[in-house]
Amino acid sequence: MTTYIIRRLLLVPVLLIGVTVLIFGMMQMLSPVERTALYLKDFPKNDKAIEGLIKRYGFDQPVYVQYWNWLMGVKNPTTGVREGGILHGDFGYSRSSSMPVSELISRRFPNTVDLALWAMVPMISVGIWLGVQAAVHQNTWIDQGLRMFSIVGTSFPTFVFGLLVLMVFYAKLQWLPPGRLSTWASAVVDSGQWKTYINLLTIDSLLNGRLDIFWDALRHMLLPIITLSYINWASFLRVTRSSMLETLRQDYVVTARAKGLSEHDVIFNHARPNALLPVITMAGFSIVGLLGGVVITESVFNYPGIGSAAARAAVSLDIVTMLGFAVFNGLILIVANLVVDIVYAFIDPRVRLS
């Protein structure tokens, strides 16, 4: 177990360097002048001034120096102290949102986490339930029907599904609005009486004792939750089904049946716990994916998470913001994948022993 964890931990710095080099490489596709322009609010028209800026930020230096500067910040010529740098949390200034990228992320990320926490509940539980049903009723009409359901599910692009549910539940029925909060609710949240505990709106509203705001926040998230669930059910269903079918063929399940256990007991108490092992990994990675911001879903529903901010930055070709998001996203994903892998090794002895 320890060797497994150590081996896995050793991979982390490799991945970190790799991701930063990759993102830095994308930025190197722009010329020094363009890169200077990216970081300044007012770009000077004067050639001399531009040259001075290029010198000051070190964009004329060798690539490895620039990479180091990008990570650690540029040395201030008078004080000799490095300023900025992504490792100090300075991702530059976001033109598309008119605030520093780090501030944009810290404002938007809690919303993404909030959505991810709520979306994973129906996504995983219903997905697994459907998969077990399909496996238990293998080759009956239930299995066939679920199979069609999952193929259609994977064929539905997120944004088409999202637009269709918006059309029905928002435009036609006026039940579930897009966005984050109603105007009255955001007025309350922005007012002085609102106490911020952990920055997640749904939880904070409960802690503030405002059930009406809790309901309003949840109501705005329902459509994205439905969309994310529907799109992801297909893969949960498929993995659970095939893993369940494989487990049901194992000898110990036959033994359980031979001992005369009820079918319910065999399926839910003997087969299902083991069949869920591969599903756990998948669930882990889906949650990680949700935390990384769901670009399209958030954009369709105008939900103010980091995914929609990334999309908006991309449309206005705000590259500083995009690269900042990429670094942030890469960090989250590397750490979260590590956690998933280690947790899985704890659950399944086969992983750590191999």
Binding site: M26, P157, A326
Partner: protein, 351 residues
């Protein structure tokens, strides 16, 4: 002695090893050409009703793409991929409203099928008076071009990368696989989104930035799969035999290993077309890539983003292009689903 099927290590159709008296089943030319494993995959593919529906859907879309100019002709002097605009009105117009400006030539089928003498907007117009029907028909071509080009490119890159890693193994393999790990950290939509945004100012607004971005972040899956297949084939006896008899390394790789390992990856690549089209449509839905008015389903759907609160009235700006996209991807996925069953090792011998 009864042997029903030739086992894996014996070339199909070669019954010398089994003795002359053994009765073998007839082996057709196609099976001889593809080998038993590949032939079984192909046979399984055309057998299920779902995959037949899939093939039918893709075939219909292919016909539409090929005969697009006959279905609705481009309006000169426009580029064929530019959707004609009936004026500059911002609000969408419902299906059946008359077409006044930039009217295409009357095609042969129009009068018989619709019974009308004048062109109308069959599926209505979207924001900016772009004709939806034209976009749907010509968007089929965009879908096929982007899907095929991106898939082919990612397939080639993946196969070359994966085979090099698998063949050399050891340190080289280890480094190459860690590079894959790095490239696969960022979610592919986000990575492609960023890369396309970096590329767009360089090469201008067209289908190219998005295609390059999808290629750059789309080949890793193929590399992994072919690597695994090559690793297992490398251990087979006939490769050993080739090595012992002094065949050159490169010849073993290209003549003996890759041809035997490539079929599953090839099949998966053909299934990847639907996914590529989905990602392409998603990026252009977000507003990356093609110029406004380019015949492309994602672009058509992105018009709907400004009319979300009135989609009840303007349903046609979502339903027509959306349904087209869904059916197209569904076609490829139905084929892919049949493929998964056939390729799943647990299903072997049960088909």
């Amino acid at each position: 002695m009864t042997i029903a099927e030739p086992t894996e290590n014996i070339p199909s159709g070669d019954n010398r090893l089994l003795g002359e008296d053994v009765k073998m089943r007839e082996i057709g030319k196609l099976e001889r050409f593809l080998g038993p494993d590949n032939y079984r995959i192909l046979k399984g593919l055309v057998k299920t009703p779902a995959s037949r529906i899939g093939f039918a859907l893709v075939f219909i879309f292919a016909l539409v793409a090929v005969f697009a100019p006959l279905i609705i002709a481009p309006v000169p002097p426009n580029d064929a991929y530019k959707i004609p605009r009936d004026g500059y009105k911002n609000d969408p117009q419902p299906p059946g409203s008359p077409w006044k400006r930039q009217v295409p030539e009357m095609p042969f089928w129009y009068k018989t099928l619709t019974g009308k003498d004048e062109w109308v907007h069959l599926m209505g117009t979207s924001e900016g008076s772009y004709d939806i029907f034209y976009g749907v028909i010509w968007g089929t071509r965009t879908a096929f071009t982007t899907g095929l080009v991106v898939t082919l490119a990612t397939f080639l890159i993946g196969v070359i990368y994966g085979s090099i890693a698998a063949y050399y193994g050891g340190f080289v393999d280890n480094i190459m696989m860690r590079i894959l790990d790095v490239l696969m950290i960022l979610p592919s939509t986000l990575a492609a989104l960023i890369f396309a945004a970096v590329l767009t100012p360089k090469i201008g607004k067209s289908v190219l930035p998005v295609m390059f971005a999808l290629i750059a972040f789309g080949w890793m899956g193929y590399a992994r799969i072919i690597r695994g297949d090559i690793l297992s084939i490398k251990e087979r006896d006939y490769i050993m035999a080739a090595k012992v008899s002094g065949v050159k390394n490169s010849r073993i790789l290209f003549k003996h290993i890759i041809p035997n390992a490539i079929f599953p990856t090839l099949v998966l690549a053909s299934m990847g077309i639907g996914d590529v089209v989905l990602s392409f449509a998603a990026l252009s839905f977000l507003g990356i890539g093609t110029e406004t008015g380019y015949a492309d389903w994602g672009q058509l759907l992105s018009f709907a983003r400004n009319w979300i609160s009135s989609l009840g009235t303007y349903w046609y700006i979502v339903v027509f292009p959306g349904l087209t996209l869904v059916l197209y991807v569904l076609g490829w996925n139905l084929i892919g689903d049949a493929m998964r069953d056939v390729l799943d090792p647990r299903m072997r011998g049960k088909a």
